[in-house]
């Protein structure tokens, strides 16, 4: 007990000394705080996000920083646990006193930190998907990924173009799947489409043939949509082929990554999903404003980390760039000024899409920023 206290006292002294030294410097660094799920079940989100933040903070610092000040990245790993996300957000705000937070890999982690961030009045750019994060609009909270609602809109619009109006829906019971399911049901009603079959599976299920058979036996189903995350959708895709189902098959943006193609193998052939242009940088038309940004990000990331680029890292790229832009525009790190600048960013072309923020829209993207891709010969092919 005494030993622990002594050690803590020692640590406090070191921290205090470090603080004193830092305040003695003329230009303090701009502190960018981040809490991400770098390890744990959501590590496929947090890992590329952290790598992206680290490499671009380095790059910006080499190029002279922002407003003549260096950037300092302070990050913690929340292990995908919502209450530790909240605690680390508190540590960032109260102990590290960061100027802006870019983080929150999952919707759960983001939402757990939101009440605290709103009270502390620190600008926060979330990297998580669900529509609840920015609807209703929260004063200090922004986000970079498209919402699941936009994904549902994009998928259903593509179905409608193909003359499909009756859908079989299979979704995971986790946060992503169940929020996606709610959004799909709402959008379908608005667009005058029918969800005739609606089944779910839990994250630990290893076989979904029962649910798919249920959909197959439902009369009138014209296409099947799977809203889910992680392993589940790959199993659904394999079962779909094993059952010999031939209806058009859609997945959500939750599995839009090359690793999904590896998991699902040849059974993914012919399925469609909404995704970031990052998966098909070279097939984008020359006049697409995003083409250059996307190609650059992919090249830089893959050269630096020697691993495949992922859409989730791109959310962090856009988050960081939006933060930098807002600080430059505000001309200071004053929270209220930065927040105001963030809210008025127009026409920022990022990897995820073109951002047009407004006081009523803290996401700034529209459904068209998703591209519809189809798997052909084991590769992504741009359809629309």
């Amino acid at each position: 007990m005494l030993k622990t206290m002594m050690r803590r006292a020692g640590q406090c002294a070191v921290v205090a000394a470090a603080c004193l030294m830092m305040s003695a410097q003329a230009a303090e660094p701009i502190k960018i705080g981040s809490f991400l799920s770098v390890t744990g079940p959501a590590s496929f989100l947090g890992d590329p996000e952290l790598k992206t933040l680290e490499m671009y903070v380095e790059k910006i610092n080499e190029e002279g920083g922002v407003l003549g000040r260096q950037l300092e990245l302070i990050h913690y790993d929340d292990v995908g646990n919502a209450s530790s996300a909240r605690n680390f957000a508190s540590r960032l705000i109260r102990s590290d006193r960061v100027d802006i937070i870019v983080g929150g890999s999952t919707t759960g982690a983001t939402m757990a930190a939101v009440p605290l961030i709103e009270q502390a009045q620190v600008p926060f750019i979330s990297l998580a998907g669900a529509v609840v994060i920015t609807t209703p609009v929260k004063k200090w909270v922004f986000k970079t990924p498209q919402s699941d609602r936009m994904a549902a809109e994009r998928i259903l619009a593509d179905m409608k173009d193909r003359g499909i109006t009756k859908i079989g829906l299979i979704s995971g019971t986790g946060g992503f799947g169940s929020s996606g399911r709610t959004q799909t049901l709402e959008v379908a009603e608005q667009m005058g489409m029918d969800v005739v079959a609606d089944v779910t599976y839990s994250g630990s299920d290893t076989d979904m043939t029962a649910q798919l058979t249920n959909i197959r036996n439902t009369k009138g189903v014209e296409a099947v949509l799977n809203f889910g995350f992680g392993q589940g959708p790959a199993i659904v895709t394999r079962n779909y082929v094993q059952l010999g189902m031939e209806l058009p098959f859609y997945q959500s943006h939750g599995v839009a990554s090359d690793s999904f193609l590896e998991l699902a193998g040849s059974s993914a052939e012919g399925l469609r999903l909404p995704a970031s242009p990052l998966l098909v940088p070279d097939s984008l038309p020359q006049e697409d404003p995003q083409k250059e940004v996307v190609q650059n990000y992919k090249a830089e990331y893959e050269a630096r980390w020697d691993s495949k680029v992922s859409t989730f890292g791109a959310y962090a790229y856009d988050g960081l760039m939006l933060a930098v832009r807002a600080i430059e525009k505000a001309g200071s790190t004053d929270p209220e000024a930065v927040r105001g600048a963030l809210e008025n960013i127009q026409g920022y072309v990022g990897v995820t899409g073109e951002f047009n923020m407004s006081p009523d829209d803290h996401n700034g993207l529209d459904a068209d920023s998703f591209r519809i891709l189809e798997v052909q010969n084991g590769e992504w092919k741009l359809i629309d």
Binding site: M1, T4, R8, A9, Q11, C12, V15, A16, V38, T39, Y76, D77, N81, A82, S83, S84, R86, N87, F88, S90, R91, I93, R94, S95, T107, G108, M111, A112, A113, V114, P115, L116, Q119, A120, A130, V132, T173, G174, G175, S178, S179, T182
Partner: protein, 335 residues
């Protein structure tokens, strides 16, 4: 006089109170306060769990279920239905206590592994319900909880309050509240242990057969202490929900139950102050180890493993034994 006082069972309580009074001098910023407040709330829960595990010798692997249920009851009652906090906490405790009694009666007839498995199942069922009842609980994404209000005072960690003319910040007010709650929880537990109920419980721990032979109604006492520890968890869960401002079904998860049990075992089963130390250490480690990043989990495991190998009785009992041994040696040397 002083000697007699030091021998009494209130000695530990006074020391704990002194620590809580002195501690703010070492807390540098509001974040440190937040950590200590969480420690106090979790420690009080574990003190309740220790009554069941350490004294009655029954293992509960589903205690986070009751904690989560208390948290959600408070969150839903105050957030969705606009109750004030105090009735929400009290009614929540009654509801959770009743549930614990209903499930406790049959499962406490089970022994050993079967009892652990039954409590495990109860915890899982609660977590699944919280996860799936999206319309009421917000599902896996969780739900916001309004700030605590006591007698018309809204206690937010960002507010400023005046106490007897001294202005204090929101976290300091919460610190005082959490300290008082922890002291009350410990005081109640200590009294219970020294009461006839406590003696009956310890006899159940020693040998259930022997206890029933001498006329102890083992089933009654076991379910009583199960209910008491569930009420502890429920009230603390409610406070935790108010303090955090946001809850997810993770508060009722299996991992959280295991964390509670680990705190009891690490700190010292059957030692009320030991389990508080266990809670403090386990809450502090993730923050201290945060700087090691990838190695964090490895270090965490290593520390737990070493403690269990070299201090199998838990932190506090082993330390006290070592100290008194040395003192006796010293006294013996002088004589």
């Amino acid at each position: 006089m002083l000697n007699r006082f030091m021998q009494s069972r209130l000695r530990g309580l006074v020391i704990l109170a002194l620590i809580l009074i002195i501690l703010p001098a070492f807390l540098g910023n509001p974040f440190h306060y937040e950590l200590v407040i969480q420690m106090a709330i979790i420690a009080a829960t574990v003190v309740g769990l220790n009554l069941l595990v350490g004294f009655a010798g029954q293992i509960s692997l589903g205690h986070a279920g009751f904690f989560g249920l208390g948290a959600y009851f408070t969150g839903i009652a105050t957030g969705t239905y606009g109750w004030s906090s105090l009735p929400a906490l009290v009614v929540g405790a009654v509801v959770v206590g009743t549930i614990a009694w209903l499930v406790g009666r049959p499962i406490l007839r089970l022994k050993g592994h079967y009892l652990s498995m039954a409590t495990l199942a109860v915890g899982f069922i609660i977590a699944i319900i919280l996860n799936n009842e999206r319309a009421i609980t917000g599902g896996p994404d969780g739900m916001p909880v309004p700030a605590l209000d006591l007698f018309g005072w809204e206690l937010s960690t960002f507010g400023r309050y005046s106490l007897f003319g001294i202005e204090i910040s929101g976290v300091q007010a919460w610190y005082i509240l959490a300290s008082v709650v922890l002291l009350a929880a410990v005081w109640f537990a200590l009294n219970l242990i020294e009461s006839p109920i406590g003696r009956a419980l310890r006899s159940v721990h020693g040998s259930e057969v022997a206890a029933s032979v001498v006329g102890v109604d083992t089933a009654k006492y076991k379910s009583l202490v199960f209910v008491i520890s569930a009420i502890y968890a429920s009230v603390m869960g409610g406070l935790y929900a108010h303090f955090q401002g946001f809850i997810t079904p993770a508060v009722a998860s299996f991992e959280f139950s295991i964390l509670f049990i680990t705190m009891v075992v690490l700190g010292g089963m059957g030692s009320t102050f030991g389990v508080i130390l266990g809670a403090v250490v386990l809450k502090l480690l993730p923050q201290v180890l945060a700087d090691f990043q990838e190695l964090e989990t490895v270090m965490f495991g290593l520390i737990l493993m070493l403690t269990m190998i070299f201090m199998p009785k838990g932190l506090l009992p082993t330390l006290t034994a070592a100290v008194s041994k040395r003192m006796r040696k010293k006294a013996g040397g002088e004589a």
